[in-house]
C-alpha cells in the first residue's frame, strides 16, 4: 500500500514530516526507555549465562560439558527433538493442506483446536499424560501387564514435547498456504500431475521457507521445553534428563558453573535460532506467513 503512495515521490515518508513524527527530545526519551528495558530484560540475562558459564575459565566449562550425565542429557534432547519435530512437521503439512486447500464446515473450530496447546500451561501438558498413563489410570494396569513403559521414560518425554510443540509448523503454514490459494495446484492437476507430484513439485517449493521457519521454531521449543517434560520425566540422572532438566539439577546442587555451562549451550541454540529466523525473514519475508507472533 505504501508503494503506490510513495512511487511518485521516492522517500516522501522516509523521514516523516513534522506532522507525523515526535519531537527529537521525545524520540530520545522513548528510545532510551525502550533500550534500557530491553537491556535489563533481554540482554543482561543472555550475557550472564555466558559470563557465569565461563566464570572459572574454559577448563571447568569443558569439564562440565564432558560430564557423562551432561552428554547423556544432550543425547536425550537431540533424540526427543529428532522424533517430535518430524511428527509435528508431517502433521503441520497435512493439517495446512486440508485447511488451506479446501472449504469445509468447522474449519475455524479446527484451527482453534490446533492452537489449543499454546494456551495450556506446560505443567498441565505433562500432567495430562501422567493421568492417562499413570498407574491409577484406566490404561495403567494394562500397560504394566504388557510391560510398556511410557511415563518417566523416553516415550513420555516425547509425547509431552509433541504436545507442547504441536501447533508450531501448522501455524506457520496455514496462513501462508491460504494466501497462496489453489490456483497453482489446479494448474498442475490440469497438466496431468497426480496428487503427490502436485504436492512435491508445486506446493512444496512454494512453502519451503515457511516450512523451514516453522521447523526452526518448533525445534527451539522442543529442545528447550522444561515444564511439561519435567512432569513426565522422573528426573533420572543420565537416563531421563533432558538438557533443561539437567540445568535444573545442576543448579539445585549449587553447581552454578555446570548449570550455566549447559545453559550456555541452550542459549547458543537460541541465538542460532534467532539468527536463522532473522535471515529467513530478511530473505524470504514475503514467502513466510505474515503472522509472526506465537
Amino acid at each position: 500500500m505504501a508503494e503506490q503512495v510513495t512511487s511518485s515521490n521516492p522517500g516522501r515518508y522516509a523521514t516523516g514530516s513534522a506532522a507525523t513524527a515526535e519531537r527529537l527530545i521525545t524520540r530520545i526519551i522513548l528510545m532510551g526507555v525502550a533500550f534500557a528495558f530491553l537491556a535489563i530484560f533481554l540482554v543482561m540475562p543472555l550475557v550472564i549465562v555466558f559470563t557465569e558459564a565461563f566464570s572459572r575459565g574454559l577448563a571447568p566449562f569443558l569439564e562440565n560439558i564432558a560430564d557423562p550425565d551432561t552428554l547423556s542429557a544432550i543425547r536425550l534432547t537431540l533424540i526427543v527433538a529428532a522424533i517430535s519435530v518430524p511428527l509435528n512437521l508431517v502433521f503441520g503439512v497435512a493439517a495446512a493442506w486440508a485447511i488451506a486447500k479446501f472449504e469445509f464446515k468447522g474449519k475455524a473450530f479446527l484451527i482453534t483446536l490446533i492452537d489449543l496447546p499454546f494456551s495450556v500451561s506446560p505443567v498441565i501438558s505433562g500432567l495430562v499424560y501422567v493421568l492417562l498413563f499413570g498407574s491409577t489410570s484406566l490404561l495403567g494396569p494394562w500397560l504394566k501387564m504388557h510391560g510398556i513403559v511410557i511415563l518417566f521414560a523416553v516415550p513420555g518425554i516425547v509425547l509431552a514435547t509433541v504436545f507442547v510443540t504441536f501447533p508450531f509448523v501448522a501455524r506457520e503454514l496455514i496462513p501462508l498456504m491460504q494466501e497462496q490459494g489453489t490456483g497453482d495446484e489446479e494448474a498442475a492437476l490440469s497438466l496431468g500431475a497426480n496428487g503427490w507430484q502436485t504436492f512435491w513439485f508445486v506446493t512444496l517449493p512454494n512453502i519451503k521457507w515457511g516450512l523451514l521457519y516453522g521447523v526452526l521454531l518448533c525445534n527451539a521449543r522442543a529442545m528447550g521445553e522444561f515444564g511439561a517434560v519435567s512432569v513426565v520425566s522422573g528426573h533420572i540422572r543420565g537416563v531421563t534428563n533432558t538438557m533443561p532438566l539437567h540445568v535444573e539439577i545442576l543448579y539445585n546442587e549449587y553447581n552454578a558453573v555446570g548449570a550455566f555451562a549447559v545453559a550456555s549451550l541452550l542459549a547458543g541454540l537460541a541465538l542460532v535460532t534467532l539468527v536463522l529466523k532473522t535471515l529467513l525473514e530478511m530473505r524470504y519475508g514475503a514467502e513466510i506467513a505474515a503472522t509472526r507472533g506465537h
Binding site: 506532522a19 522513548l30 543482561m44 540475562p45 486447500k101 494456551s119 493421568l131 533443561p244 545453559a263
Partner: protein
Amino acid sequence: MSTTPAQAGWRFKAPSVIPGFGLTLGFSLAYLTLIILIPLAGLLWRSASLGWADFWAIATDERTVKALEVSFGTAIVAALVNVVFGTIVAWILVRYRFPGRRIVDAMVDLPFALPTAVAGIALTTLYAPNGWIGQLLMPLGIKVAYTPLGIVIALIFIGLPFVVRTVQPIIEEIDKEVEEAAATLGANRWQTISRVLLPGLAPAIVTGFALAFARGVGEYGSVIFIAGNLPYVSEIAPLLIVIRLEEYDYAAATAIASIMLGLSFAMLLVINLIQSWSRKRYG
C-alpha cells in the same frame, strides 16, 4: 470451486478438484485427537469424577487459592508492564531508524527461543541479593529474587514478545493520512497519539495483553527458580500441581489444573468477544 447452493443443500465440504482431502484431514484429526484431545479430555474426566464436594474442598483450600492468586496476580501485573513497554518497543522498531535496529528487532524474540529454565537461572542470578541487579536494589530495600516481585520479573521476560509481535504489525499498518488528518485539524502530537493512534491500537494491545497473560499464568520453568516457592506467598499454581503430583495426590493436581484451564479459557473467551465486537463496530 464454487458450489451450486440451490442443489447442494448442506454439505460438509465444498467440491474441489484437488486430491488428498480425506487423507490429510483424516490424519490431522486422528493425530489431534490422540495427542491433544484425548489427554485433555482425560484431565476433564478425572476432574469431573472427583465429585463436587471433593473438588470444592481442593479449590477452596487456602494453599490452592493463594497459589492461583499469585499466578493470576503476577501474570496480570507482568502483562500490564509489557503492554506499556512492549508498545513503546514496537513503536520505536517501526517508526524510528537507528543503527542496529534489525538486531534489536531479532532480540525481541529471545524469550521465544531461550529455554525457560535458562531464563530462570539467569534472572535469578541477576536479581539475587549479590547479583548484578540485585545488589543495586538491595540498598533501596527492594528484594526481587525469592519474592512475588521475582515472579513478575520472570513473567515480564516471558511475555514481552507477545505484546511486541502483536502490536508491531498494527503500527506498521497505521495509515499516515490519519495522523496527518489529526494534525491538520489542529491536534498536537500528544493529542494525535492519545486520541487517534492509541485507540486504534487498542484491540492489538488487548490481544497482546491476553497472550502475555495466558502464557504468564501457565509459566513454570522460568518462575520456579526466582520465585523462592514459599507456600502462600510465592508459590505459583503450576508448581502446586507438580507438588501435588509428587505427593501422588492426583485428585488435587487434576482439580487445580482444571481450575487453571477454566479460568484461562474464560479470559481468552472474553477477550475474543471484545475483539469481535470491536471489529464489527470499527471495521
